[in-house]
Amino acid sequence: MGSSHAATYPRFLWQLFKLGFEGTWRFYAWMTVLTAVALVGANAWAHQVVEGMGLTGMSDHVSWGLYIANFTFGVGLAAGAVMMVIPAYLYDDHEMHSVVLIGEMLAIAAISLCLAFVLADLGRPDRFWHLLPGLGRFNWPISMLTWDVIVLNGYLLLNLHITGYLLYMRFLGRKPAKRWYLPFVFLSIFWAVSIHTVTAFLYSGLGGRPFWNSALLAPRFIASAFITGPAFVILLLQVVRRYSDFHIGDGPLRTLASVLRVTVLLNLFMLGSELFTAFYTGGAHATAAKYLFFGSHGKHGLVPWIWSAVAFNVASALLLHLPASRTSKLVLNVACALAFVGVWIEKGMGLIVPGFVPSTLHELVEYAPSLTEWRVTAGIWALCLMILTVSIKVALPVLSGRLGLQGTAPARSPAHPNPTRAIPPTEPAERSAAPVAE
């Protein structure tokens, strides 16, 4: 038994590896573009390491910028991607099962993105090993950042295990043993919540930064994770459907859109509550919000950003509540894209940066990302998309049963036994929304 795995597992990996280099011209073109962007980013990062972080737009006043903003957003994306597990397993929605794996692969790519952004933000990446438990000096449990290191890497391993195991079983043509993945799936739901909660605590735990020092930060992070994850997956599933022969029904799209309908409103509601508290009370809590939304002392750097974010989020909420969003893919897709970008701005230029403006001594120093930062950022996103593309690409033939130990299996797979068993559009909305609303 053991020895047979020792033989087939490497074969499984080798097959996947080979598959990663096979593809249509579209695949090659897409990967070439991504590689080029990633290389530009790598080069910009190399310069940053050599010449110093001064190449970024950050300063002692605004000491975190685009990198940490993207890191925060990426954690949300990773957490949100796995939320699809909830309808699939908790409510035994079978049609979701096959797309859950895609969500988990998105989580893997997103966590890689987060880790890359943390690395890009370090002034001394050569001392990375100081962070390794055992080798360095890990300031656990006091430092929230050490918690983040633990939960993010744990989450990465968890998702690697689940996807790896399920794919391998499919490859062998065997039924996966529940005890080898179900406990991990449930664990990953809690874990998904934990990664974004801990990330929120990074900021909300700082008493000297009134803009972040709010108990609502963690719930807001979770709500926005439930936006970015489903929004991205809705778009991703359609891409997969379009460019592969892997069958994905409309059911999962509808389920995810229902989740989205609730979370966009929830997110706006919480943003509104924060703003009410800030502006009605005034004082230290309001100065950053005032600068963010209206500018102060003649400085308006973040005003266009935040109003675009608000506009995007509101527009997406409106679109999602139009009846057309249920019938027209275009409306749905535009709403998803708006929500995705809206949250991206809100979490970054709308949350990380204003935490530093005004500074703790109330100096108003503005921040704008430098070209180096934009390059590195684009490069890391390209890297993340490469990971995502390749992993989905190699997983699909296994999932649909075309790649297996026996070589060629029938294309129709047990992953989607009955595509016609679509879920009625309205009913699952309440079901999947329930865990969100709490």
Binding site: V40, A46, M53, G123, H130, F356
Partner: protein
């Protein structure tokens, strides 16, 4: 058959090109890696170094300074004294906002000349208000200006320092005499402490510091004023290379009005104790629970 071969050839070419492009993109790192010595890379945390290892590290740092900055310096490892808790107080009634303290800090601590860095920021405040929001740290006119008073702010050496709590690698900690220090050779440059400090006391080395040989203060300590590497955080250390040997901080000596009082909080005869017992002192942002060891007071 030929089609398959062409595919394989294309893949090989593509992979080679990709690898070559990657090497090219990362080329700047090669020089940087050459400058990074293995000893430096593998150096342990300050508190894990025994006497001998510390000696070797200090000599290596001196050599590096000589090679990179063209100046022979002496770097010591100055440890805390027994039964000493340092405290600092500042008389806001006499401070005139001349920023001599900030300049003295700049020179004493081998700060980057290009950015005119200093651990001290002086805020110009409106008479009759303690609202930091109305303060101005970039004033540029004759002092003292009418209707204004001046509030110099530097590291408050918090007894409950948030900057220490957040550091993921324990690169910053509170010493037994109350001074919060950074191991510049252990800090990974994440700047979490900079976000956590409520007093804007920390600085990051965005570039390698620029110093002419003649500007360098050669009297240096590992935990305080030695020239910092790029990419790490630094902060005020109450001039521990001076104060732990019985001297006064450079900022105090430079102050023309005698606004600054420094000393051992455990010594009942010290001036700092007299101030704490006889003046109505206060600390900045007391509500945050950081318990600063830096006190302010006005003359009655």
């Amino acid at each position: 058959m030929t089609k398959v071969n062409r595919r394989v050839a294309l893949k090989v070419v593509g992979t080679t090109l990709g690898a070559g492009a990657f090497a090219q993109a990362m080329a700047p790192l090669r020089e940087w890696a050459r400058d990074l010595s293995l000893d430096e890379f593998l150096q342990r945390h300050y508190r894990e170094l025994d006497k001998e290892e510390m000696e070797r590290v200090l000599r290596r740092l001196e050599e590096e300074t000589a090679a990179e900055y063209g100046r022979d310096v002496h770097i010591r490892d100055v440890r805390p004294m027994e039964d000493v808790q340092f405290g600092y107080a500042l008389n806001l009634s006499v401070c005139i906002g001349c920023r001599r303290c900030a300049e003295a800090c700049h020179e004493e601590n081998n700060h980057d000349r290009a950015t005119n860095n200093s651990y001290i920021r002086v805020l110009e405040m409106d008479q009759g208000s303690f609202d930091l929001e109305q303060g101005n740290a970039t004033y540029d006119h004759e002092v003292p200006a009418p209707g204004k008073y001046y509030l110099p702010v530097q590291c408050q050496q918090c007894d409950n320092p948030p900057c220490v709590d957040v550091c993921p690698v324990q690169a910053t900690w509170k010493e037994s005499d109350g001074i919060v220090v950074v191991d510049y050779n252990w800090c990974i440059g994440c700047r979490y402490c900079e976000a956590a400090c409520p007093y804007h006391a920390r600085r990051f080395n965005w570039h390698k510091p620029e110093l002419a040989p003649e500007d360098i203060n050669p009297d240096q300590a590992y935990l305080s004023n030695r020239i910092r590497p790029a990419g790490v955080v630094e902060k005020c250390t109450f001039c521990l290379h001076r104060t732990r040997e019985g001297r006064l901080p450079a900022c105090l000596e430079a102050c023309p009005t005698g606004a600054r009082v420094f000393g051992n909080l455990l010594d009942p005869d010290s001036e700092i104790r007299w101030v704490l017992e006889n003046k109505r002192v206060f600390v900045l942002k007391e509500e945050l629970g950081t318990r600063p060891r830096f006190f302010y007071f006005f003359d009655e």
